[in-house]
Amino acid sequence: MDALLDLLTKDSRLSVEDLAARLNLTAAEVQAKVAAWEADGTILGYQAVIDPEKTHSSGVTALIEVRLTPERGGGFDRLAERVAKFDQVKTCWLMSGGFDLAVVVEAGSLQEVARFVAEKLSTLGGVLSTVTHFQLKIYKQNGFLSTPAPDGLRLPITP
């Protein structure tokens, strides 16, 4: 991966000047590259990674396995894109293995997820079956541990 993209993936809040200093680029070069990626959809967005336990949110997250009937011509794309359009759906992947779509859904309550599955997802033509798993606890997300390893274990001066 491009070193600038790699760094933005780790910390997208760095200023243009800070990015440039770390990568031996000029600020103008950084700006031009980022603008091009934003324009062509390489960079889709920027987000904070939040630990929901700290925000005491009452929301629930579910992983839904979905089996689909593929369609002539389009395969899974048309249906998958349709599923992905729902606001509740945060992530939607086509998978190898025993099911076809892995769908991550966030909602206010268990009931809301149940309603989404029963009324929206299962009723779509082409959806053969669903299996819903609820998330209980997060240990790591997007590369961030919920309990980061302590630092400061090194001596302050060593040869």
Partner: protein
């Protein structure tokens, strides 16, 4: 009979006199003195460390834990686990293009530190000379001295970005010279070696029939697509070179205390003679972890290298921006800024920076006289902390512009 007295009082001066003269003669390390200052200063951002800020990659720690679960808690053969020596030989062949026989030419040691001690003790008769370059890692000179050798310094120059010139080495060669000691990339300067000069040093070693010891501990941590040939790979050199390497830096395994030396069978055997009686073998847990590191550690190492590269760029650009002239180091994780524009000595600079801005760097003089006018700033520190430290250094340099 004398009446009993408080032993703690009456003995203390006597005890001092019991210590061997040679050991008493070794001065206290500059780095230890400074360490105490830093400890007393409280909450500082330290750029004074000589080790990675990353914990050992998890897959390596996990391999160590698994070996403990299985009960792998015994001694190993003196040379080290054969499996590890095979991995080392394979890795060294790939990385440096020198083939060593794992059965006879590889010895696993407790860090490069022990390998250095073994090599000097194995090679040096009293009074024989070792040429090494300063500023350098703090252990070389005392280790040579403790092996009854005579350390002979070649000072590298800021004008050359602290690279070593063969012509400077040649001037130091005498009939007593036995060994030339190299360390590139260098702690504390981050200097790398020009291949032409390296060939020049190889030519000298062959012409004067000298042994070369090369400490390759930072050889993975190279930037800007630089390649780093080891002197062991040059024609005619393998048979007169001890190649030392370890796991501390590139694999972030300092606390595992593991390294190795690759050398012709007779030299390996001589080092093994000392090692078997003084150390027996390196820790088996560390050895098992090291196999995992060599076989599967490339990707995590590359991630760490990239992080160091970004930090190097940041540090060098900010230090230069602050008016502290800093050359772009080709390797390791140290920047070596020229602080003479402040009119201070290295020691003053480091002490006052610590007091006024709570940032610790190491005075260049801790690494030899040639380090005067410079300080070592280690950039193996989290980027956010590094950025804060650099702002403070800039403010300090601004205030004290001479």
């Amino acid at each position: 009979m004398k009446p009993p007295t408080d032993p703690s009082n009456s003995m203390s001066s006597d005890i001092q006199s019991k210590i061997a003269d040679r050991i008493q003669a070794i001065p206290r390390s500059g780095i230890r003195e400074f360490f105490e200052l830093v400890l007393n200063a409280g909450d500082v951002i330290s750029l004074g460390v000589g080790e990675p800020d990353f914990a050992t990659p998890w897959h390596i720690r996990e391999a160590a834990i698994y070996s403990l679960e299985k009960g792998q808690t015994s001694y190993t053969s003196n040379l080290g686990l054969l499996e590890l020596r095979k991995s080392i030989a394979k890795y060294v062949a790939q990385k440096f293009s020198v083939a060593y026989d794992p059965a006879k030419e590889v010895i696993v040691t407790v860090g490069v530190s022990e390998a250095l001690d073994l090599a000097f003790r194995a090679l040096l008769n009293p009074g024989e000379e070792v040429i090494y370059h300063e500023p350098c890692y703090v252990s070389y000179s005392p280790t040579i001295y403790m092996a009854h050798g005579v350390p002979v310094v070649v000072e590298t120059q800021a004008e050359d970005d602290f690279a070593l010139r063969a012509s400077a080495v040649e001037k130091c060669i005498t009939p007593k010279t036995k060994v030339i000691m190299l360390n590139f990339p260098t702690n504390p300067t981050g200097a790398v070696m020009d291949p032409k000069e390296l060939q020049g040093i190889a030519d000298l070693a062959i012409k004067h029939d000298l042994i070369v010891i090369t400490d390759e501990i930072y050889s993975e941590l190279l930037y800007d697509d630089r390649t780093h040939p080891s002197i062991a790979a040059l024609p005619g050199m393998k048979e007169r070179t001890i190649l030392m390497h370890g796991f501390s830096k590139a694999f972030a395994m300092t606390g595992f205390r593991l390294g190795y030396a690759c050398a012709p069978p007779a030299l390996t055997e001589a080092m093994m003679k000392i090692h078997q009686y003084s150390m027996l073998c390196a820790s088996i847990t560390a050895q098992v972890a090291a196999v995992e590191a060599l076989e599967h550690g490339a990707a995590p190492m590359e991630e760490m290298r990239k992080a160091y590269w970004r930090r190097r760029n940041l540090v060098v650009s900010k230090l230069n921006g602050a008016g502290l002239k800093t050359f772009q180091p080709g390797g390791a994780f140290y920047a070596f800024p020229d602080i003479r524009s402040t009119g201070m000595t290295s020691r003053e600079f480091a002490t006052r920076l610590l007091e006024e801005e709570k940032v610790a760097v190491v005075p260049g003089t801790a690494f030899g006289k040639a380090g005067e006018g410079f300080v070592r700033a280690c950039y193996a520190t989290a980027e956010d902390q590094l950025a804060i430290a650099l702002e403070r250094v800039a403010a300090f340099a601004q205030r004290h512009r001479g």
